[in-house]
Symmetry: C3
Subunit: 358 residues, 3 copies
């Protein structure tokens, strides 16, 4: 009689070069696309307007890039992060082949680094995850690193294999789907007047909306992605945690902030990549989320119809940046160290595709 349930992998169970073929492939359906809208408020027309998607060269509306991200991420949780108290960061996240309703997503993860920390009870594991469709085309790839609990806090393995990761998805790696053609792009469809040339590095956009989050909403979203990390679902367990309640899946916060950012970035056609990202503070049910975007860089893609914009999307809880200015990072008065403002919950450095003036 073998053990039937799994305790998940601990720091000691990971080794560089190890590859996980994650279970439970997931066919994306029209139901998922509708639920994504209902749970996040997304309005980007590439994901909900069939004829618009066709006018840009796609077969029909494509699954939201972040829906794909969450589904691929969810596949990896049972192997990688069941025993992870926190995801520390993302790097070189690239959105590749578009996903349509009817496509089936599966994922693989390779361990690329591990390091002991100053704390005895956790180590850090770096992984590279790839999501594939049913034709084995890569739809997404990303690096992330997470704290992982140790089985034996007493023994230090001496592991110090932190990998060097790219700080940015560089221009040549920004993958524009070859079918995409913006020559027939009609801004009446998006409702946005500003195009690539109109965004200036240094500009800050305060998105006007706020959204209060309920437990039923984030739980439904996280279940939709079949992400089983228990901190999102088990109130009894969480009541004993430092936070005192269920923590919202960080990816849901990315989706909500991205949805809020539609007002002011209506013509951001597609996410090309995340350069890096931090879940700087937790969010819980009852929190009201706001978003602001700093324009970092205008990237020329060497094509006439579109350019890329590097943006910093910052999500703030329970404080409306339209009403009250907020410093993203602040100095701790005691330690003097700089850290995130306690209301900043997401700091995402990412790159989108945007039509150019013609």
């Amino acid at each position: 009689m073998t053990a039937k349930t799994r305790a998940g992998n601990f720091f000691e169970d990971f080794s560089v070069g190890q590859v996980f073929h994650h279970a439970v492939p997931r066919t994306v359906t029209e139901g998922d696309l509708a639920l994504y809208i209902a749970l996040t408020g997304d309005r980007r027309p590439l994901h909900c307007a069939r004829e618009f998607a066709r006018s840009l060269g796609f077969e029909r509306e494509i699954a939201h890039d972040l829906l794909v991200f969450h589904i691929v991420f969810g596949r990896a949780v049972p192997d990688v992060s069941l025993n992870s108290p926190a995801n520390l960061g993302y790097a070189d996240v690239r959105f590749l082949t578009p996903v349509y309703a009817g496509d089936t997503l599966r994922a693989e993860t390779e361990v690329i680094g591990r390091r002991e920390t100053s704390r005895g009870d956790v180590g850090i594991v770096w992984v590279h995850t790839r999501g594939y469709n049913q034709r084995d085309e890569t739809v997404l790839q990303f690096y992330r690193w997470a704290m992982v609990n140790k089985r034996d806090p007493e023994t230090n393995s001496g592991a110090a294999d932190a990998p060097k990761l790219p700080s940015q998805v560089t221009g040549e790696d920004l993958s524009v789907p070859p079918e995409l053609d913006l020559s027939r792009f009609d801004p009446v469809v998006t409702g946005g007047k500003a195009l690539w040339e109109d965004y200036e590095p240094g500009e800050r956009i305060l998105h006007p909306q706020g959204m209060t989050i309920e437990d039923a909403e984030h739980q439904s979203a996280t279940r939709l992605y079949q992400n089983t990390a228990r901190v999102h679902f088990n109130e009894m367990l969480q009541k004993r945690s430092r936070l005192g309640t269920r923590i919202i899946y960080g990816g849901h916060i990315i989706s909500l902030a991205h949805s809020l950012s539609f007002d002011g970035l209506e013509n951001a056609i597609r996410v090309l990549g995340f350069n890096g990202g931090t879940h700087s503070n937790p969010t819980v049910a009852g929190d009201t989320l706001f978003a602001m975007t700093d324009v970092i860089e205008r990237i020329d893609l060497g094509r006439e119809d579109a350019g890329a914009l590097r943006l910093r999307l910052v999500a703030v809880k329970n404080l409306d940046p339209n009403e009250e200015e907020i410093e993203i990072k602040v100095k701790d008065p005691k330690s003097g160290r700089e850290g995130y403002h306690q209301n900043v919950v997401l700091d995402l450095d990412y790159t989108v595709l945007m039509p150019r003036r013609r």
Copy 2:
């Protein structure tokens, strides 16, 4: 560098004859139909039973008329009612070409009237909105009027262009889809025994069910329709309002009341039109909704298979009309003026299609 976010239109920004081509066309999918059922409890078989829909001449189940209404309405919010404290009424709402999963809805709105009010800070704007499918067929048209904030409360424009609107969708404008044929109608499918002839003007139907509403439910519904009016989502903002909490989108209340009205109106095949409607009081999470229907008129459509019924659908919160009689309108003891009972939240005058006895 141009402003990227929009503050929405104020009373001064509207002029009679102005036309808005609303952004973000929306492809309706099977996911939306399923979510409509999950969020409202709708059971009308034309919208969930494929073979029944075919037996009536349709290609397959059609999107619920109110789902179409909400999606079209949602398109218009960013241009028309971002700065609107209240929608005041509807007139001549006509449900036209049926909508199937796969159809894409877009909308246009023409301003048809504006008037200053006795209050300096708001005016009233009348609009006519049309919803179209991807073949440019009109699926829905309606008039509505709403309070809209003024940018400059000090200046009175003297606007007094209140239009004359029809008080009823008259018989000749009641559009029955040409494909509809009730000769094969089978009441076993609906479970309702009463047909057109069985409803008597003056009759009141007390629908037996009640439904308590949660924030996660109305927010998910309102996001599904991509309606961005912030009063439904931002608890922080709403805490400072007179209501003190998020207000539920009035359209969600119409949908819930219509769903509750299935018990007693099982054979109401389709909504043909709204003659008028008032959201008489706000609803918030935690309220329990009940519904009752007064039969106003039996309209002969000059066909043997079906007639129309003009109905008054009244939604009541936190008071069960099955247990306690309710006066829809009451006299204020102080002012002597007649107004809605404080628990009445919807007074909808609408017309449905119903099979006749054969």
Copy 3:
């Protein structure tokens, strides 16, 4: 003028041999499948992975057996259990022809027994319900018995027609879909290493996850199934009940417990039948659900690719069996009678299909 709403059937209205053809057939769509995942967290790949389903001989992913159960069950509520304070049990529940998105479900119920009880106000009614698809193939059949209110508590009808029901779906009645072929079964897809031979009668599996339930979640699920039993929706009514709040539909608890049981039973391909089941205590919003499985029997189906496992799925609220041992049944210290532990909410005896070692 006839009464338009129905009070539902009372104990006196049922007679043995009576057949109900339930209203509102329901076409299952991709939207329902996605919502089932979002609301229950189901991860069984037969229901979400198209190519995996095809590799087993199916056309594509099939609707979850429990989704089919809930939809068929929901059809019968208005005729059978509107006036039912409690469902008492299930027997001989058989899952037959697989259901795909696009299939339409309808249901019929025959009354097979009725009995007066020691209480004057309720009787017990036994029914046999069958669910059919649009080709009149049986997709599900089950017996259940429920308490039903009497219209006239003063009169005892002397009814004593309790039927004899099978205590188990026996081997020969365990229907394996003829198209199913496990020769290409790949356990990487499920992520589970244990196969039929690995489960030993007497073994207990403590599933590791817990899930806290919100009102918006169980209401949305129950509405999706168009189950109208008012105890799930009307907080005003329920506040006056002994429970004091809305009671969660027992079927939702079965779905959640079954979803939680994926960890440890990953290769349970399909539910073949329920032998019996009891909703031993109510659950309400805020409860956290856990699940454990006792292996009862390994059933040889006389085929090389698969066998059946008879399991006892026990759901527990607000007590994690991984942390604290729980006796499913306990003796009442006063009466000395054995009854369910007050935290045990479901005791389901059911049978699944599982691949064998090759």
